[in-house]
């Protein structure tokens, strides 16, 4: 809208600032809490950062909160990263290939295959979590990275999105590639994949955050501390039995747990923007 009305501009900005503040405030509070001592936080979080930042962060990163039964933070961060990346990459690879198969190949029961995938969209993870746990336990995948990531890899959403995208790619492009002597996999690699680049970036961000934020599943399949992920680690710390939760350290952990998804978003956003600026048909 091209409107020049100072009052409206003021209202618009006020609403935006208020909204942004509402979203940022809890994070700010967590950050502030992570820079104080336990004693200072226990009576209510002050509104200004304190002086204990370096000490708190080096404590959680290095030693972990032994009393809370959580391993050092860097292990949990690494576990989370491995899990989130395996889920993301696995989901993207599988859904790309299955969408490619469903859209470009004619085989018996093709639509049945697609609808089977599609129907699973309607089942949330929580519904199938018990049978999935049973299967994973029987396969001996408890307490392993495989157990953490493989059951979450199948993705109806991503398959569906890629299918929709592939269907918008003009048939004549496929035909031109056939005449140019590109076999199916070559066409997939040389043409379909580069064209999907912006979609890939978007999905990577969404799926990475999905993987990173997994809570219930890691909680179920890991009992070994060395496989704890950061999100469940925070929960462990908060429920530290008899003791008072060490809120200043928990908050420091939470802030650190925020960083990898933020990094992924920032990195991928560049690709996003580049994909949008180069208008390609």
């Amino acid at each position: 809208m091209v409107e020049r009305r100072p009052f409206l501009t003021f209202i618009q900005h006020a609403v935006l600032i208020l909204g942004a503040a509402m979203f940022v405030f809890p994070i700010y509070l967590a950050f502030v809490a992570s820079t104080h001592t336990a004693a200072e936080v226990s009576g209510g979080v002050p509104l200004l950062p304190g002086a204990e930042m370096i000490r708190n962060y080096s404590l959680v990163l290095g030693e972990g909160i032994s009393a809370a039964g959580a391993p050092p933070l860097w292990i949990m961060l690494m576990n989370s990263t491995i899990m989130a990346l395996s889920i993301t990459i696995g989901k993207i690879v599988i859904s790309l290939l299955s969408a490619f198969a469903v859209v470009y190949f004619k085989f018996p029961f093709r639509m049945l295959a697609f609808w089977t995938i599609f129907v699973t969209l309607m089942l949330p993870v929580e519904v199938r979590i018990l049978p999935t746990f049973e299967v994973v336990a029987q396969l001996g995948m408890l307490n392993s990275y495989a157990g953490l990531s493989i059951p979450l890899i199948a993705s109806a959403t991503a398959t569906f999105l890629f299918r929709q995208f592939f269907m918008t790619v003009p048939d004549q492009l496929t035909e031109a590639a056939r005449i140019d002597g590109a076999g199916p996999m070559k066409f997939f690699r040389d043409i379909l994949l580069p064209l999907s680049r912006t979609n890939l970036a978007a999905l990577f961000v969404i799926l990475f955050i999905y993987g990173w934020n997994q809570y219930l599943w890691p909680l179920l399949v890991t009992t070994d501390e060395s496989y704890y992920t950061i999100v469940m680690g925070i929960q462990r710390m908060a429920n530290a039995g008899e003791e008072t939760p060490q809120w200043h350290l928990i908050m420091a952990t939470a802030i650190l747990a925020l960083l990898p998804p933020v990094v992924v978003i920032l990195a991928m956003q560049r690709l996003f923007v580049r994909g949008l600026v180069e208008v390609e048909k």
Binding site: E175, A176, K186, L195, R197
Partner: protein
Amino acid sequence: MSNIQINNVRKTYPGGIDAIRGITLDIADGEFCVLVGPSGCGKSTLLRMIAGLETITDGSVSIGDRVVNDLEPAERDIAMVFQNYALYPHMTVYGNMAYGLKNRGVPKDKIKVMVDEAAATLGLSEFLTRKPAQLSGGQRQRVAMGRAIVRQPQAFLFDEPLSNLDAKLRLKTRVEIRDLQQRLGTTSIYVTHDQMEAMTLADQLVVLNDGAVEQVGTPIDVYNRPASVFVAEFIGSPPMNLMPGEIDESGLVTPAGVVAAPAGVRHGAVTIGIRPEHLHPASDGPLRLKVRVVEHLGASANAHGTVPGHAVEMIASLTGADLPAKGETLGLTVAAENLHLFDPETGRRLH
């Protein structure tokens, strides 16, 4: 370079729809063959069958001395130019032209030589590093041409390559395509629904109707002696005037008047065809036209109107300064050799 033989080719889609009902064509080496017809006549289907993008239900297609029915498109040694160009959007112009060669395992340095040469032929040298999105419609069309000629295939297949261009550019590109094809001497098949394009480009013109060949011949032959009412209506702009008539002892009785009948035509009911430019004004002419609209085209003018007392529409293409006004009744004559007579039942030519 080689000839293309299409032998009694049929295409039946699942559900029993016959798209192509047995077409036989022989396209000589280096010939420019244009398939023309209204939409849905099967011209694109036939082209795609030659390209290998559609399966052939029955009959055979040979390129050179090979029957290509069961070969992949890439193995048929043809190149195709698509209506929407189908350029790979993420590749540069160079990449687009090189892709087919790369897939055939041509060494890199040789690819460069071939692409550079093709680009120079088409005046694309300065655009090689651009992406298709950064090119104009005409330039994209040339890249699509470049992708076809760079491989030096046995045949070019064109699927309405000019229909996305504006009128002026279409005219220019039409000449360029013809010029290029003559220079390279590559056998070409070109599909269009534009009869003007078909007339100007073709060595051999094939008029298709409803999955079958209506007429094959040089453009001038097809124009001068249309084999059926369908061809007569389709080829020529403005279209041929058609009206019912009858031949008896007095000559050819038309709704507009009686004229001398061409020799050797049986008596009885006929469909008469007269090209607008063959109608000449003559105050005592046997044909009458009540003028409704006059279109001035510069070099000539088209007088649209009806035959007085009949519902028959007629167009006369007139030259010269003395043009009729709206509402005037015009006297017209036509020479007997310029009459086309068709059987009203079958639509076939009678003489």
